[in-house]
Subunit: 683 residues, 2 copies
Amino acid sequence: MTTFRPVLILALAGAQLSRGGEARLMPLMPAPWKAAAADGRLAITSGFSVAASGYTDARLESAMRRLVARVSRQTGIPISFSKATAANATLVIECGQRGPEYPTLGEDETYQLDVSAQGSTIKAVTVTGALRGMETFAQLIGPGADGFEAPAIHVDDKPRFPWRGLMLDVSRHWMPLEVVERNLDAMAAVKLNVFHWHLADDQGFRVESKRYPRLQELGSDGHFYTQDEVRRVIAYARGRGIRVVPEFDIPGHTTSWFVGYPELASAPGPYHIERSWGIFQPTMDPTREQIYTFLDGFFGEMTALFPDPYFHIGGDEVDDTQWKTSPSIQAFAREHNLPATEDLHGYFNQRVQALLKKYGKTMIGWDETLRPGLAPDTVIQSWRGQASLASAAKSGYRGILSFGYYLDHLRPASFHYAVDPLDGAGRELNGEQAARILGGEACMWSEYVSVETVDSRIWPRMAAMAERFWSPRETTDVRSMYARLEMVGRLLEWAGAQVRANQGRMLARMASGRPVEPLRFLADASESAIIDVRRSAHKYTSDIPLNRLVDVVQPESESIRRLDQAAANAASGSATPAELAELRAAFTSWAENNIRLEPVAGNALIEELKPLSKNLSTAGAIGMRALGYLKGGAEPPDGWIAQQSTTLGAMASPSAEVTLAAVRPVKALLDALAHRASSGLSR
Amino acid sequence: MTTFRPVLILALAGAQLSRGGEARLMPLMPAPWKAAAADGRLAITSGFSVAASGYTDARLESAMRRLVARVSRQTGIPISFSKATAANATLVIECGQRGPEYPTLGEDETYQLDVSAQGSTIKAVTVTGALRGMETFAQLIGPGADGFEAPAIHVDDKPRFPWRGLMLDVSRHWMPLEVVERNLDAMAAVKLNVFHWHLADDQGFRVESKRYPRLQELGSDGHFYTQDEVRRVIAYARGRGIRVVPEFDIPGHTTSWFVGYPELASAPGPYHIERSWGIFQPTMDPTREQIYTFLDGFFGEMTALFPDPYFHIGGDEVDDTQWKTSPSIQAFAREHNLPATEDLHGYFNQRVQALLKKYGKTMIGWDETLRPGLAPDTVIQSWRGQASLASAAKSGYRGILSFGYYLDHLRPASFHYAVDPLDGAGRELNGEQAARILGGEACMWSEYVSVETVDSRIWPRMAAMAERFWSPRETTDVRSMYARLEMVGRLLEWAGAQVRANQGRMLARMASGRPVEPLRFLADASESAIIDVRRSAHKYTSDIPLNRLVDVVQPESESIRRLDQAAANAASGSATPAELAELRAAFTSWAENNIRLEPVAGNALIEELKPLSKNLSTAGAIGMRALGYLKGGAEPPDGWIAQQSTTLGAMASPSAEVTLAAVRPVKALLDALAHRASSGLSR
């Protein structure tokens, strides 16, 4: 692996490869460590086939079948899987050995991919490496002048970090098996390798326990995975080179446990499944021996169910109200010299760790878990930041970063992309310490996502983080990232994720038989406001539907990002005819949109959008005039620019938990006009 | 049932019910026989529940669970299924009895539905009737001023015809299990009750035979249903009140049988799975006894697998080349006095019918099957028309109409809607004869549809035919039909059909990373040309991808239908501000569209669209000017109208197998201008 040099041809050049004089953007994401374009292209036809020429087994064979089906979906070409030989297959997989039977931290994931007009080859040491290469191959395929094709290329690739994860909270909103499976497919498509399954929280206990059946019987509203289903998910993930790390968050976030087993809590019950969001008081009693007897039995069952050597015990956000108000807990604390809440928590963690060790598991926990006395192999997952992680690394602990990777915060992809596990305090680590930073994990907490919207909240932004975790540290060009992200976002649909699949019908649900188009314009011109806006706008609970415009719109609008670019180019006089046409079409459509939306009114889902809709039309009208002044060269009337800027400024605050992104390109044109006026350029 | 009077409140009034002074269009389709609106509305919340108060069983309980899940999907409201009692449930099902265990021709499907602000009730004689009522209930739900609701209403409903079917050809393009299942869900949603499964044809034999395994082993490319899967489909359909009628087309359309069993054919093999479309020579030899031995064994196996008493033997399009050129067949024909091909075919059918009778099955066949000597219980499915059917009915045979209901012909819904099983020669039948016309079946032949597009070809148009088969004969208002069809089309997505689900990603596949929007405008402004255009444009085979614009666009454009209406109103001076805004927004977007599409060029999927795209922009520019003249009142320059009409006329012929529907509203405006000029109205 040390022979790799991060030659970022693709990443730095915006992944543009020249083919016969014509550039085609290739959606390679994460960007490979080394990629060199060559001449020619490999035709992808209904005769496409894959064969293994080296080591092969059931896992590789399944992956080859999946690749054929995927290429067929992605291209629309009917392709049947047929037993091909290495001599005649379109793609040959030369795999050296099996590698670990179950995906393993630090296993060899390297591969080389060669595509030429004559055929293609993936060389990999392990089956997992071959899986990674097959995903790269799929991303290369697109329509060319004579049909679908993959451009000739040499790729030499490996991951930067060995731990590249996605955490999914299935407690606050229940996520059925198919949600998990389709997101595992998407994870594999961008070379993620850890699925962190947040299985229990105040709002639901989601795994069947045969030993303590009241956990799921009373703590899940009937929404839980059977042990057979868990095994199915693990096998599904394993087939894609993804580890499954379960999390059972203790001692806080445990209300759902106490519905069936109130005796575990630090205060008497009864307890009910929590329906709202926040940090709640119910907490396990760390002072009673029967708690550890229970956990011993529970861990015995769950560690046997989940083969991964890492076991996540949460440990975050412990509300100490119950501890502080319990005389027996306070007495225990005094007796054992555990004066602070953190000390009690630390004591609990040591007991838990000892139990996990008995079952051969390594403990992971959130920042708060890290207290003196923990075993040196403990892994810390940090929501607090690089400083917390660096400090742990200096103490010899390994860690993964989640700070900056919270998908539920609804930040743009560029925000997450700029966060590096080794930034900040991480820069001060020496090589040995830095190696303890295993990678990162994005977190999809599910307060504000449902089965219907969760994929669109994870993807495509997650792909930008996957690049951060896989590609060289120097892969930081935001424009290249976005160009590829849009393409990968579309490809992820073929891999299985419902990135945009539900948007149309959610809008149709809102329109309720009226034309959807005006709602679509409004949605495309909008962005969901950041989570703080949502938290303060409305008292959400698990019974509140997530069926409004804010749930349809993305955290980032692709159309507006494109119009931003067009407006910037129009301002500098370098806009293409296509860009000017796009601006005119958008502004006109917006200007006409409010009046078109009016007949849709009369239902609650639309009523709240009236101010937003009016603003969009106003922005469109201003944009149209501004573009006219800018291109026509005539000057706007005195005071017009200032007046319109004020009008746009008043549209800045979110309405119905949605931000009108359409303001941005219009404002850019106004600013350009103001600049021209102040510099006297046009006079 | 004789107490029903077809009071077509909904159907005739465009299903508009007045609620508190405000009309909400309700997507009831098929229109009920009697529906009367009342005051008030039933709120649909996360507490929605269903309970049975009369007869209940596993089938009804499953349907109740499905309804809860469906209402949850359709509204976006989280609703858990909970055991409710009749005293507190939102919807109470009063079912009288089980009805037949397996859905049965002519079983009681009646129901009454009552909705008030306090609750709702479905009364039905049988479980199947209750299923029909639950679908009506689901269609009533939509967003109101305070959230989702169902309006107060009384519905009294029954089917007009007992046989309301959809035929799906799974031979020419393989349709996996999930395609069948999701279309069964959609069928149930519009009260269809026969799934006609076209399981074998020249291009593939799609059912596992344990007795003759080479049928699927060599005749299916590995794409067939196992017998367990068949049983699963039958159970799935039964749960939804749908019969499954299998078709094994013989003696023609049998190439796929002969790959494994060439000895069945009328000419020596070897045979290969057919890859192209048409009528082919391979035909069973009707003169050899071993054929009937084989069919006896085959029918023995298949009649046990399929519980329906009706068994379809196809019998259409027998090419007699093999028969005519076979000396032994000709000798047999002479010996048995069967001079014409039809006589031989008739002989074959009698033998087949005798075998089926042995297994307790009633034979169905296409028109050609009907020859003298067939048993009187034979059912004729007519692709030839009402005359063929009426003639059979006069001879005592029962029949179902498929003429006029071919979904693959890509005709508008209004075309199919206008076809009635009892029209034409059917009008001359007396009561007893007319009762032999059991109903109708739409046919989805699969030459030009794939897994990805088949739902969008069946739906929403199939729903209009479902109304023809269920609702009173007088339900013929096309405008009401279209208004409800658009809404039902959206609701069908929640029932499971992928009516529009794949459109976006198919366009994204074509755009290959470039903006999808210009392609979407082009698709929305286009309609797939009728099947004859497709047949002659291209030599299609099963290896040719169906991934082009023609596969994305619908046979009818909803946007253009709306613009047609807006243009007609603009022409008569009665357009609403919203309609004028829609026209302006559309024309501007079209005018700007071609230049926006240009950067997408360079791939084969886009290249063929250049003329179409250019025409759309031209049409948009003409439309914009025409609207200006019409609304501004100014006169166009001399000759302008004629010139533009010529330009539009040249756009009439299909390009890339697609028709530019956008021409229509523009032409309407030009015609209005011409009319104004000739009548001197504005001078």
